[in-house]
Assembly symmetry: C2
Homo-oligomer: 251 residues x 2
Amino acid sequence: MSEKRGDRKAVTVKIASDAALADFKVGVDNVIFSVDIAQGRVLVLLVMRDDDPSIGQWSLPGTLVRQGESLEDAAYRVLAEKIRVNNLYLEQLYTFGGPDRDPREAPDSYNERYLSVSYFALVRYDEAQLIAEGVNGIAWYPLNTVPDLAFDHDRIVEYGYRRLRNKLEYSPVAFEVLPDRFTLNELFQLYTAVLGENFSDYSNFRTRVLKLGILGDTGEKVSRGAGRPASLYQFDREAFAPFKDKPMVFI
Amino acid sequence: MSEKRGDRKAVTVKIASDAALADFKVGVDNVIFSVDIAQGRVLVLLVMRDDDPSIGQWSLPGTLVRQGESLEDAAYRVLAEKIRVNNLYLEQLYTFGGPDRDPREAPDSYNERYLSVSYFALVRYDEAQLIAEGVNGIAWYPLNTVPDLAFDHDRIVEYGYRRLRNKLEYSPVAFEVLPDRFTLNELFQLYTAVLGENFSDYSNFRTRVLKLGILGDTGEKVSRGAGRPASLYQFDREAFAPFKDKPMVFI
DNA sequence: ACAAAAGTGTTTTTTATACACCCATGC
DNA sequence: GCATGGGTGTATAAAAAACACTTTTGT
């Protein structure tokens, strides 16, 4: 954990010292979630690998970072290659970079390391159009049916799901996934799908979320099948602004 | 954001395709915090750069990742080169990787990108022994007096501080920074130093933290100057175990 | 005795939880 | 008219916040 060979002597023995440094290719892997409110399911976007290592296995959509491209740009690029959306939420998740996490690092190859910066994304299920590649190289998988994934992508999905739950509780991400106008019940269903059945009582949920004062009643009503029509609400970004960056608890 | 030149054709046109990929050196930068309870100050460890870019400027202790070394190992290595501690808390913070964040990426050089994976660490102020390099190339800086730092290290410190506050509120990191046995007042001072004066009343803090049931009274008392002697408490890892991984609110 | 720090208790306000109940619509 | 989902209200319990008060030490 600590050979003391000096970084400080690096100036004089530059070549020798540089030889000890690892060379990296940097990949970006996206954990793209969506929530099928109607069915109460959380979905992850998976793609079938059709390339060199782990070919034919499901994996997260990813790519290698190109020259002049930022990490985030790369993340947006993969996303745009796989899926068409109008709105999305995207943020960095975690960086997995141990040696030996990628089979391409095999000693016989160029001795290059592969590091994966993962990104977390949330899109609208109903507006997301998958861009089919071959026949069926891409699909939404319900979280509980995700198959064994290539590389260490299982870990990444797990990590992403934890982030999703936290984000729901402490930030207004939910509104990135809902249509502009939505009923309180849809909001509730979304929370329930992600957080589990018993996270809260519907009527208490209503009270709390309305008391936050960040939802505006549009006055319009909509009928979802039988029963009394529901009011359509809108997320009020202005009203939310003061809470921005401050710790906040939703639900 | 999406040239369609294929990752998929990479097998056949490997050389041409690889040419578009960026080559990276990966750096690890540590935001090392400690809290001087007596003075109620949060401190960051800074080192004076004595090497190539931004020489003579303060920066976070960092290093480039070596062959066969994991990111975390690299983080531990820098830490061990700068400071001697018995206990510490360390976790990954964020990965900064836009092009042009490092002057070494200047177009005239090898066209190699530098990416920084930052780590967040917390150590005990009183037990931390700085390993002096030259005369004074290393120092604790109170958070509010941190000078302009090299690269994008200012951002990293800011980001790290946010993490520190969150960690204090939602996890028992505090006990990694306190001695094995500590008074409730020391715990309170620690929280106050990080979270600000008005985060809570001392007596309410006591009640809450004791009700958690994760602190054991050792029975021993200690006198800090005048006034009634205080009980020494111990963090009870067993009692805390069930809360592990579950969302939890401290104070 | 009195200042200083530790520790306890009490009161008030706010928030969470569990339900009971009324409302508006489709069939 | 009755099942279905939407929406309001109330009663109880728990947690947070404010602050008064007691206890034990050093000087």
